[in-house]
Every structure is written in C-alpha cells, then in structure tokens.
C-alpha cells in the first residue's frame, strides 16, 4: 500500500467515526427540517380558519380549511373522489406511457444516428414550439371528444421533454467511455446495452420526471375539454356551480397525487442509479 493510500484510508475511517457520532443528532435534524416545510401551510391554514371563524372575512370565495376538508371527506365517503381520482390517474398513466415510450424510442434514435437526427429533429423542434394546447381543436375533430383525444394531448405533452432529454443524453455520452467499448470490440448492440444505456439512465429518469409533471398539467387541460369524471371535471363543476371548496379540494388532491407519483417514480428507479456520485434527492 502506498503512502497516499494509507492516508486516504485513514481519512475515510475518521469520516466514518464522525458520521456514526452524528447520525443520532442528524436523524432529529432531518425530521426537524422536514417538519419545517409544514410550518408555513399550517400557519396559513390556521390563520385563515381564525379569520373566517371570527367573521373578519366572509370566506365565501375562499372557504375555511375546515370546509375544504369536510368537502374532501364527503367526496371520499360517497366514493366520488375515488371515481374522479382513478379517471384522472388512468388518463395520466396511459398518456404518460404513450409519451414516454415514443419519446424514449425516437430520442434514442436521433441521439444515436446522425441521419435520423438530421431527418427528424428539425421537424420535432418546430412541432415542440407549438403550444400543445393548440392541438386540442384538431384532436377533437380527429379523435372525438372522448378518451382518445385526451390521451393524445397528454401523450404529446409528455413526449417532448422525454424526447429532448434522451436525445441530449445519448449525444453527450462520454466519447472516451465509448472508446473503451471499442477497445473491447463490443458489437453495436452490446455497446448500446453495456455502455450507452447505463450512461443515459440518470438523464432518462430526470426526463421521465419532468414528463410526468407535464402529464399532470395536460390532464387538466384535457379534462377541461369536456369530461364527465376526473379531477379536471371537479374543477369545472366547482366553478360552474359556485363551489370553491370543491375546486380547492381538487387542487389539493392534484398536489398529493403529483407528489406521490413522483416519489413512486423515484423509488422505482433508485436501484438503477445507486452508483451515482450525487444526492439525487436534491433535484
């Protein structure tokens, strides 16, 4: 063992000791930090509740948190909430699947082949510049007002960030690592599987996450187009019947669903990325 190796081993050991000592304290600190994020919403909710209860504000357009909670509870009890949530989630998942598969496949194609890139990328970039909502009238004409047009819209919205992310990631794979693959005489499929795929995984997961976020964005637009169930329907219905508590209940449900599905996506992909030298949770 060299002098430097011995040194670095010792440094690693001291770091370990420090880590062990701090772990008890850091557990508390971590929870404290997590709770810190709840302080602002709880304070706001309590303040608003007090303001409405004391008659300081009317609370007609901005109902008190207790009323929103009651509405959510009623919706859940009658099973309505589940109907709407499952309708929305089914649309997001189906649209996300379509967009993710297409975005990954075409992104991989244009990232790997210069011919495909020159052929397809300019058109796709031009289409990307079109606000996706602008397609709505056309989708309704082509696909009708039911599920097909909704899924097309969500799929389109999900497609672009994933396409961009995958194509960019493949193009920026370290040429030097690819060369190591060449030295070991990997065939093209083996090179793709053993070098390119693992190298682009981190960027792919990030692309999937932003695609999923856009999926939630477009599901609302799609359900505004006309739907008889779904959280977007709850929003429109709440507006038309003057039920702000229902609108806020739907918004809160969106926040929970979005955060939950992002967390699940992260948890599912985490085993693929244990090797990474970053704290991914910060992204």
């Amino acid at each position: 063992m060299t002098v430097t190796d011995a040194l670095s081993a010792r440094q690693a050991k001291t770091a370990e000791h420090a880590g062990a000592a701090a772990s008890g304290a850091s557990l508390l600190a971590r929870h404290w930090k997590r709770l810190l994020g709840l302080v602002l919403p709880i304070a706001l909710a309590l303040g608003w509740e007090a303001a409405v209860a004391s008659g300081l504000v009317a609370g007609r357009l901005m109902p008190a948190p207790s009323r929103i909670w009651a509405t959510l509870y009623t919706l859940a009890q009658t099973g309505e909430l589940w109907t709407h949530v499952s309708a929305t989630m089914a649309r997001v998942m189906a649209g996300f699947a379509i967009g993710a598969v297409a975005g990954t496949a075409i992104g991989a194609l244009t990232g790997a082949s210069e011919f495909a890139r020159r052929l397809l990328d300019p058109t796709l970039q031009a289409l990307r510049a079109v606000p996706s909502i602008a397609w709505v009238p056309l989708f309704i004409l082509w696909l009708g007002i039911f599920e097909a047009s909704k899924l097309a819209l969500i799929g389109l919205g999900v497609f672009f960030p994933i396409y961009l992310g995958v194509a960019g990631a493949i193009m920026s794979v370290d040429r030097k690592l690819v060369e190591v693959g060449r030295v070991f005489r990997l065939s093209r499929p083996a090179l793709a599987l053993r070098v390119l795929l693992p190298a682009v995984l981190p960027a792919w997961v990030i692309a999937l996450r932003s695609g999923l976020g856009l999926g939630f964005m477009f599901v609302v637009a799609a359900e505004f187009m006309g739907a008889s169930e779904g959280l977007g329907y709850l929003l429109v219905d709440g507006q038309q019947l003057g039920k702000p508590d229902q609108i806020l209940a739907a918004i809160i449900t969106f926040a929970v669903l979005g955060k939950l599905s992002d967390t699940i996506l992260l948890a599912v992909t985490r085993p693929l990325l244990t090797w990474q030298d970053t704290t991914r949770s910060r992204l």
Binding site: E179, F184, A190
Partner: protein, 261 residues
C-alpha cells in the same frame, strides 16, 4: 513480437502526425516512448490499438496484422476511464464477457489482488483515489492477458509517491505473463525505471529520433550511478531531438556496457 513498418499518419486536415515509423519490439520487452509535445506519441499508440487507421504502413503482432481493436492488444488510457455504474470487479472483468460469471470474477479478483486492490473489489470507482482508479484500469487491460499492452502516460496525473508504487504494481503484473509493453511517457525517470528500451521521438512530424537500450536488470536501484547515467543519456538524446529534429540517428545505442565502470 510487435512489428511496426513504415508507419505514417496524416490527419484529414493535412497535419502529418507520424512519418515513416519503423520499430521492432521483442516479446516481453518493455519499451518506453518519450518525446516532446506534438511528436505523435499518442497517435502511435492509437494506431497500434487499432483505434485509428494509419495512412501508410502496417502493424503486426506476431503473424496478425492490426487494423481494428484486437484481442492481442490491450490499452490503458491517460485517464482511468472506468465505467461509473460498474463496481471495481465488474470494471476489471469488462472484457471477459466470454467467460462464465464465476471465472470472470475470480480472474478479476486475482488481478486486482496483484495491484493491491483486493479489499476494494466491491467498491464503486468514485470511492477510489486517482491512483487506485488507474490501477483498476491497468488490471482491466491486463486481466485478459494480451500479447501487447499499450500505456498512454497512465501515471502522468499522479504524484511522485503514487507513481513509484504504481510502477511496482505494473511490473508485478508484467512479470506474471510477460506481455510486450509499449508505454508513452514524458518523464525520463519513468522511462528509465521501466523500459528495457527507450524510443526517443522528435516532433512535427513525429519520427523515431533514437532508440536507446537501457541494459539494466530488474529490480532497478533508482539511486545507482548506472541509473543516473542512463537518465542522462536519455535526457541528452531528448534535448538533441528537440534542437535538431531533422537529423534522426535511429541507431540503437547500448549504454549498458558503457556503464559498468
């Protein structure tokens, strides 16, 4: 035996990187290639590795001509170039895909043990120091037991202590199955410490200026007079090659015999 005949390389932009290089390096010989910047050392290695195509001339390892990456030739790059998503053992066994998992692992572990990394087999590359990473890289190139191993300034980014210990690790691996080693370096001490022969190249375009037989046994005492004399010999040739690159000598000068008194 590695045989390089009339090798020339001109890049697409017209730059002539190498002109008419001819070298014969016997089996099991360690040749150190040294020269000023721009003398095409790295280009020469890339040609031998089959990563680039020569404009003229040819390269043979034994009876086989090299025109693309070949199992008989392994290369260690200037940077470790480890795959960050594979642990140390999997990186080392990367080129052993044809073997069963068990055999691959045992060969990788064995080779890693020879370079002093037996305790690091299951680690990620990011957890290793630069010197350790470069050792993994050397193990990865040599675990497949190529006939020719190419090293492109593999120790240039490391401090002097780490470098000296890596020289020992390299020699340990080399003594196992005695491949021909061609090692590019810009460090005269390193060239004399490792090389049986030092090839001095002159720049623009890259040519062989002089081949010097070191004629020292192993292990080498870096403080001995003979070692110092060999270093001086290489230094002299190197500065002549830079001062007057158009008068290549090319003949092999045996310094060993002259060093005995």
């Amino acid at each position: 035996m590695l045989k390089i005949q009339n090798l020339s390389k001109t890049y697409a932009d017209g730059t002539q990187a190498l002109r008419d290089i001819s070298l014969e390096i016997g089996a099991g010989t360690i040749a150190a290639v040294i020269g000023g910047s721009g003398c095409g050392k790295t280009t020469l290695l890339r040609l031998i590795a089959g990563l680039d195509q020569p404009t003229h001339g040819g390269i043979r390892v034994g009876a086989e001509a090299i025109s693309a990456p070949h199992p008989a030739v392994g290369i260690v790059f200037q940077e470790p170039r480890l795959f960050p998503w594979l642990d140390v053992a999997a990186n080392t066994g990367f080129g052993l895909r044809h073997l069963s998992r068990r055999e691959r692992n045992s060969r990788a572990t064995e080779t890693l043990a020879r370079v002093g990394l037996a305790d690091h087999v299951g680690r990620w590359p990011r957890e290793l120091s630069g010197g350790q990473q470069q050792r993994v890289s050397i193990a990865r190139a040599l675990v497949a037991e190529p006939k020719v191993a190419l090293l492109d300034e593999p120790f240039s980014a490391l401090d002097a202590f780490t470098r000296a210990s890596l020289h020992d690790h390299l020699l340990t691996l080399w003594s196992e199955f005695r491949p021909t080693i061609v090692m590019v370096t810009h460090d005269v001490e390193e060239a004399v410490a490792l090389g049986d022969r030092v090839v001095v190249m002159s720049p623009r375009p890259g040519r062989v200026y002089e081949e010097i037989d070191i004629g020292l046994g192993r292990p080498r005492d870096r403080l001995s007079d003979a070692f110092e004399a060999a270093k001086r010999r290489v230094h002299k040739s190197l500065s002549e090659s830079l001062a007057d690159p158009n008068a290549p000598r090319r003949q092999t000068v045996a310094t060993g015999a002259a060093l005995w008194w």
